[in-house]
């Protein structure tokens, strides 16, 4: 704490959708409590701060800095390093920062493919000259520089040391407030040994009220194919619910509403590779007793890497596809 005795806090968005910034506001009235004890030292989404301002801060000036989004380009890496330097506590906020999140699904594609989709072959694109962003562009006024696009989305921890991570897409407001409270009070929040906070120390299944009847999965079904029976485990009903392999904290929101868990809180405690954990788990849950049937059932699953690593490609074992 410096100056007025209030905490200095920061929030930055890197490769993210903006939902995390909004989720911080979701703490509602408590934002006023936060303002009582903390000054915002950096929050591009909410107020006009320049990087130079931050660069001018003494090292460790900010008490807590929340970093949301993965790292996709050189600017984001630079800011991550800067914020690391200027913050006492750097917190990976949201699943993109902690595990790569949705943007990291692009790690299955090469930069060329991504650019092709973003700037060329998508039917809604009007780009007759086929222009692509380039880091250096010579113009009449001189060289324009834009950040370099990296070959893969990385999570914050792969760039700099992050002290804690709050997973979730987005993190749930109550959990965030609790985590902030703990950080502010200077206590080490409960983190189950893996420095993830604002979440439970168990999986989504722990919070889910749907019951496992110990029946085996007869066939995989996607959501448009059936109406789930209430009160009964979605996985057992054939929906590829990632609940068992996903960190709890959301209150099992999706399963509660009849939607399978897509895994947005990242790997369950104890695991680092969410997809492997899920594959391991369903290995024993299928009804198939013959190899042929097992293969058929497995073939019914659409896009396994996208299904099992939807939010955690960057922390999985493989992280990027071979095309890179």
């Amino acid at each position: 704490m410096n100056g007025n005795g209030k905490l200095k806090i920061g929030m930055y968005w890197a490769s993210s959708c903006g939902g995390c910034d909004i989720s911080l506001l979701e703490i509602g009235d408590k934002i006023l409590d936060l303002i009582q004890i903390a000054d915002v030292a950096f929050w591009p989404c909410a107020a006009d701060f320049k990087y130079q301002t931050v660069a001018g801060y003494p090292d460790g000036y900010m008490d807590i800095c929340f970093f949301n989004g993965g790292v996709r380009n050189s600017e984001q890496e630079e800011v991550a390093r800067l914020l690391r330097k200027k913050s006492k506590l750097l917190v990976a906020y949201g699943t993109c920062a902690s595990d790569g999140g949705i943007p990291a699904l692009a790690n299955m594609n090469s930069v060329a493919e991504i650019f092709d989709a973003a700037y060329h072959s998508n039917p809604s694109i009007d780009n007759p000259n086929g222009i692509e962003p380039r880091p250096h562009v010579e113009t009449a006024v001189g060289t324009l520089e834009i950040p370099t696009f990296y070959p893969a989305v990385l999570n914050l921890g792969q760039i700099v040391h992050a002290d804690f991570a709050i997973p979730g897409c987005p993190p749930q407001a109550e959990d965030v407030w609790e985590a902030i409270g703990a950080l502010v009070s200077g206590a080490t929040p409960q983190h189950n040994g893996d420095r993830r906070i604002g979440c439970t120390s168990r999986s989504v299944c722990d919070e889910c009220v749907r019951e496992k009847k110990m029946t085996r999965i007869a066939a995989f079904r996607r959501h448009h194919m059936f109406r789930p029976e209430p009160g009964w485990c979605l996985l057992e009903q054939g929906a590829m619910c990632l609940g068992p392999a996903t960190r709890g904290g959301c209150g099992a929101l999706c399963p509660q509403a009849g939607m399978r868990c897509e895994g947005c809180y990242g790997p369950a405690p104890g695991a680092t590779d969410q997809g492997s954990a899920m594959i391991g788990a369903i290995g024993g849950m299928l009804e198939a007793t013959t190899e042929k049937r097992a293969q058929e059932m497995v073939d019914e699953i659409v896009d396994p890497p996208g299904t099992f690593y939807r939010f955690s490609m960057a922390t999985g074992n493989l992280k990027v596809a071979q095309k890179h």
Binding site: C205, M214, P269, G270, G280, G283
Partner: protein, 683 residues
């Protein structure tokens, strides 16, 4: 209950301390050293962190070789040992014992296989040496992560529960008691003897079934080591190998031994009902004994037909009759359970080969009652008072069924299987008919004759000589049974005969005997209580027909006799004795010692998602609903580690095969890659 063995050899450094590893590379008299440069392997390994000695020897399995290991452990104060030699299947035990002799926990030992999987399969010496080195490095990396383990020891309560009072249950009880083991035998019906008591004669000895069952029951009933509960129904069960607790509900018999004039009491009863023992061929009273000489020699009341009129009470002068007797519960504690619940015969549907339609169509079991001189027809072969002139046997009724031809059973499945005993039973009955009633003509309608057993074929042979006519039908076009319109005989069987190359036949008969197959009983309660596996044929399913033919997957549960599938008396007896042998071995040992490679749940990490509960084939994992965490029952765990790979939270670890141990081995094999510690740091 399980506990770990206190071996008193806890010399092992815990994680954090630098382990002191000894590496011993065997030359195996040239078998290894001719290809692998074992000295180079030892030399290179001696540079590895934590390795305090690395040495070679001509034969580490020899006495001097083992002595060298023991001496090195003491001299260098080793707390981890790696031997690189032949396959662990040959000498892992040898080296573990050597390590233990030196006072070190035997599970701090790791065996690298550089003979069967290196020197004998690789021709290039330098590649073989490199590979051997990698394997030894991996073993060293793995040992550094090992923790001392203790064998599991489970105490076995010295008593056995036998479920079922038929020939298999009686045999198992007799054999166990003969070895001085306390047995509780429970039987759901009011009388012992099961299906054997209902038979007339048994093959291949031709003995009267009664002559076999009566002495067997006497032996069991008179043995002080055996407690018998008849009318006993399974109620609840808990526990596991060594300590099962089963609660049975003893249904009221209504009559006790105090009743001194049972026959008068029975005669006094005004209610008559169908006699199940005689398979509906006769009637009996509501208070009854199935046959003279049955056990217990006390009548029982059939409550479904009893009107509580009190006639019996008066006939007995009130002695031993209690029409208001209540059921009571008994708790039976046992170290092992022998399941001998038997089976049923297939009940033909109405109209199946005329069954139920014509009085002249009976089952083979009913024929057996008819042939019994003490049976309902006093041994005469008559139907509706008429002597039988021509009798036909129809094979495979309720067995060898085909999709689309036979109607499925209640569960939607057909009985594809062969019932095993019916062919010989049929031949045996045909022989007896030919012997006792030489004038009777016998026809046999079959698909195949499966008189497989020793001396079974001779019945077949004999009845062929006695003039039994064999007619072979096409299983996809089974014979039909109709009323004989010509009037001389009540029935006619129409079929084609493959033995006479497709001739169309019409065979008029007085009596048609259906060789009904054998089917599993409704065992849902039993299956539920002890979590038994059931096969597609609805019989209980052994773990493996050859490896563990009389055992269920859960330890301590044994199968005796036809609860497992159709069997004849000799086969049931043998199976019962085999089950008794397994149970006896368990009880006599008093305890079992098991490898310590069991799974353990870290309750702090467990999310209670139940995923592990699906995978365990031994039902060794249960979930504590209050803490919402899983728990491994070490007495049941066999140490396969399947649950470890299933747990999405890595909350289950298998001792001796923990993730960190396997991964450090893996990382060492992929040498030159990041240090394992760093990779594992996040876990």
């Amino acid at each position: 209950m399980s506990e770990t063995v206190q071996a008193g050899d806890h010399k092992a450094s815990v994680d954090g301390d630098q382990p002191r590893v000894g590496v011993f590379v065997c030359r195996c008299g040239g078998n290894i050293s001719d290809i692998v440069d074992v000295d180079a392997v030892a030399r290179r390994l001696s540079d590895v962190r934590g390795v305090v000695c690395a040495t070679t020897h001509q034969f580490f399995c020899s006495d001097p070789g083992q002595a060298l290991i023991e001496q090195s452990i003491k001299e260098h104060n080793l707390d981890r040992v790696v031997v690189a030699a032949c396959s662990p299947s040959l000498h892992e035990i040898t080296f573990r014992r050597a390590v233990a002799r030196a006072g070190l926990n035997q599970y701090l030992f790791e065996h690298a296989n550089i003979r069967e999987q290196v020197s004998w399969v690789i021709t290039d010496k330098s590649a073989a040496t490199d590979k051997a080195e990698r394997l030894v490095r991996a073993a060293v990396a793995r040992t550094r992560r090992l923790a001392p383990l203790q064998k599991r020891r489970i105490h076995i309560r010295p008593s056995v529960l036998v479920i079922g009072g038929g020939v298999a249950g009686l045999t198992a009880a007799r054999d166990l008691a003969a070895r001085g083991i306390h047995v509780t035998l429970i039987e759901s019906s009011p009388f012992l003897g099961g299906r054997l008591a209902q038979l007339h004669r048994i093959f291949p000895t031709g003995q009267r079934a009664r002559d076999v069952v009566t002495p067997l029951i006497e032996e069991v009933a008179s043995n002080p080591n055996i407690v018998i509960h008849t009318n006993a129904e399974l109620e609840r069960a808990s526990g596991f190998i060594g300590d099962f607790h089963t609660v049975v509900r003893i249904m009221p018999r209504g009559v006790s031994e105090a009743c001194t004039n049972p026959q008068e009491v029975i005669d006094s009863c005004p209610e008559e009902t169908v006699d199940g023992f005689n398979l509906g061929l006769a009637k009996r009273k509501a208070i009854y004994m199935p046959y003279a000489g049955c056990y217990p020699p006390v009548p029982a009341i059939d409550w479904r037909s009893c009107t509580k009129c009190g006639a019996c009470f008066e006939a007995a002068a009130g002695k031993g009759i209690d029409l208001d007797e209540k059921p009571r519960e008994v708790m039976i504690a046992a170290g092992a359970i022998v399941i001998a619940a038997g089976l049923n015969t297939y009940a033909p549907r109405h109209g199946e080969y005329g069954y139920g339609q014509f009085q002249e169509v009976v089952t083979l079991a009913q024929l057996n009652r008819m042939l019994d001189p003490t049976g309902p027809t006093a041994g005469k072969l008559t139907v509706n008072g008429r002597s039988v002139r021509r009798v036909g046997f129809m094979h495979c009724v309720g067995s060898l069924q085909h999709e689309g031809i036979h109607k499925p059973m209640r569960d939607g499945r057909i009985n594809q299987y062969c019932s095993r005993v019916c062919c010989t039973t049929t031949m045996h009955a045909a022989e007896e008919i030919k012997d006792r009633f030489p004038g009777v003509q016998v026809y046999d309608f079959h698909e195949d004759i499966r008189t497989y057993g020793r001396r079974h074929e001779s019945y077949y042979d004999h009845v062929c000589q006695q003039g039994v006519a064999f007619i072979r039908f096409d299983p996809l076009r089974p014979p039909t049974v109709e009323a004989d319109t010509k009037g001389e005989f009540p029935l006619v069987v129409k079929t084609t005969d493959r033995l006479t190359f497709g001739e169309e036949l019409e065979v008029p008969l007085d009596l048609l005997v259906l060789a009904t197959g054998l089917v599993a009983r409704d065992m849902s309660k039993l299956v539920d209580l002890y979590r038994c596996s059931v096969g597609a044929d609805r019989f209980l399913l052994e773990v493996h027909p050859k490896l563990r033919p009389v055992e269920l997957a859960a330890f301590g549960l044994f199968l005796a006799g036809s609860v497992q599938g159709p069997m004849d008396i000799a086969e049931s007896t043998a199976a019962a004795a085999a089950a008794a042998s397994k149970a006896s071995a368990l009880i006599k040992a008093g305890q079992i010692e098991l490898d310590p490679f069991v799974a353990r749940v870290d309750e702090h990490h467990c999310s209670g998602c139940k995923v592990c509960l699906y995978v365990c084939p031994f039902t060794a994992i249960e979930r504590n609903d209050s803490t919402k965490t899983a728990r491994v029952n070490e007495a049941l765990c066999t140490g396969c580690g399947t649950c470890v790979a299933s747990c999405p939270c890595n909350a289950i670890q298998q001792q001796g095969f923990e993730d960190s141990q396997v991964e450090s081995e893996l990382m060492a094999l992929l040498a030159g890659k990041p240090p394992a510690e760093e990779l594992l740091a996040a876990v």
